[in-house]
Amino acid sequence: MEFQKEVEIRAPREKVWRFIWDVDRFIACVPGCKEAKTIEEGKRYAATMVEKVGPFKVEFPTNIEVLEREEMTRIKAQASGADNKIGSRMKLDLDVNLRDEGDKTVLGFVAGVDILGKLAALGHGIIKRKADQVLDEFAQAVKKQLEGDS
């Protein structure tokens, strides 16, 4: 499943870039993300992702690895996790990019999400919809965080 989103933020690019690397503030914007910690500054992180569709709950302890970093412009990262209770795995390829548009910054991301295992029994349509909702909420939360304190 691939998702593309862009969010326009009334804040300078530098501020958005700094925000992305402020793990605590950034993680607070990811719905269902808890217990985030830095393993190696700028490179490796760990977090637990909790998501719910009706009675179906998943908890993925997730490792996040930053693969490429182009200062103030782009980050390429990969995340993967497994919920052994349910017998499902999640893999996320994330490409984040930043560009100026007038006095605003456009934060864009392309996410490739793979869900494997029993959770897939819920159906592609339901999972895609849920992932879409999560990304939308995330984009709005980032916008609110950055515009709120400008």
Binding site: V53, G54, F56, K57, A121, H124, I126, R129
Partner: protein, 281 residues
């Protein structure tokens, strides 16, 4: 494999509600078990406690004061064979007759079907078109939820965590009432279901159209209803193609194994036309 769980056997709705409140997400109501036990065996959900509600007295179908009241614990088989349902709501009896297979219909309950809110289930769609009300009870209160507002999303309903669905109340159709439900699919569960309900007194009134299975939850498609309201039978028939397009777009269809979004939108239009003509005949 099914993991160990504790079975509670309350005898009243308030006991069920109290247990739900006390144990929260670690407990779940168990009625027919046709959906729940499958999900548990697959390991998709785990509960420490199942609350068996079969001892509750919610198993009757009654016709009183112009409304049909269905106990939430009625099985699909009881509904497909109920005289009161067959006489007053033949479209609903037919729908129940076509739910899944005979093994599921023997044990699966209407309440369990509605509360599990599996996106490809049939009954919710027709109940929305028939303007049914769900009766939700808990220890100290009872409230009515319209079928239209009952389904929130895939596997999610408007019930509060400690509420129990006890009855479904459907206005008994009058002599001028027409309704129908049609579904189509090529897998075990339907890809699309469409229900229509209206009154015909020379012209069409109180038109209600609902679409299910296509998206995450059944929904009323008011966008298409206006094309029928106040129209004669012939004028309405001329509007069927346009209404089908509107209903398809409004159905919030999603692409999945049961078909692409575009395919489902097309089938909504086809079924709407057929359901309308079937309701007239």
């Amino acid at each position: 494999m099914l993991r160990r769980f504790r079975l509670e056997e309350p005898e009243s709705v308030s006991e069920v509600s109290e247990l739900l409140g006390r144990f929260g997400d670690s407990a779940k109501i168990y009625a027919g078990g046709t959906e729940l036990l499958l999900a548990m065996k697959e390991g998709l959900v785990q509960y420490e406690r199942l609350i068996n509600v079969k001892k509750l007295k919610c198993k009757d179908v009654t016709l009183e004061s112009g409304q049909v009241t269905i106990g939430a614990l009625c099985t699909h088989h009881e509904l497909e064979t109920s005289q009161a349902i067959k006489e007053n709501l033949p479209a609903f009896a037919k729908l129940e007759h076509n739910v899944a297979n005979v093994r599921v219909r023997q044990v699966g309950t209407i309440g369990g079907n509605l509360c599990f809110a599996e996106p490809h289930a049939d009954p919710g769609t027709l109940l929305i078109a028939l303007d049914a009300k769900m009766i939700a009870e808990k220890s100290a209160s009872t409230r009515e939820i319209s079928a239209e507002k009952f389904f929130i999303d895939a596997f999610e309903t408007a019930l509060e965590p400690d509420e129990v669905l006890t009855q479904i109340v459907i206005p008994a159709p009058t002599a001028s009432a027409r309704n129908a439900y049609l579904k189509f699919g090529y897998l075990e569960r339907p890809s699309v279901g469409v229900a229509v309900a209206f009154n015909l007194n020379g012209q069409i009134s109180s038109m209600r159209i609902a679409v299910g299975c296509a998206g995450p939850a059944p929904r009323r498609v008011q966008e298409a209803e206006a094309l029928f309201e106040g129209k004669s039978k012939d004028d309405a028939e001329r509007n069927l193609a346009e209404a089908g397009l509107l209903a398809g777009r409004a159905a919030e269809a999603i692409s999945d194994l049961h078909g692409s979004q575009e395919y489902k939108e097309h089938i909504v239009g086809v079924l709407l036309k057929r359901a309308f003509l079937s309701a007239l005949s």
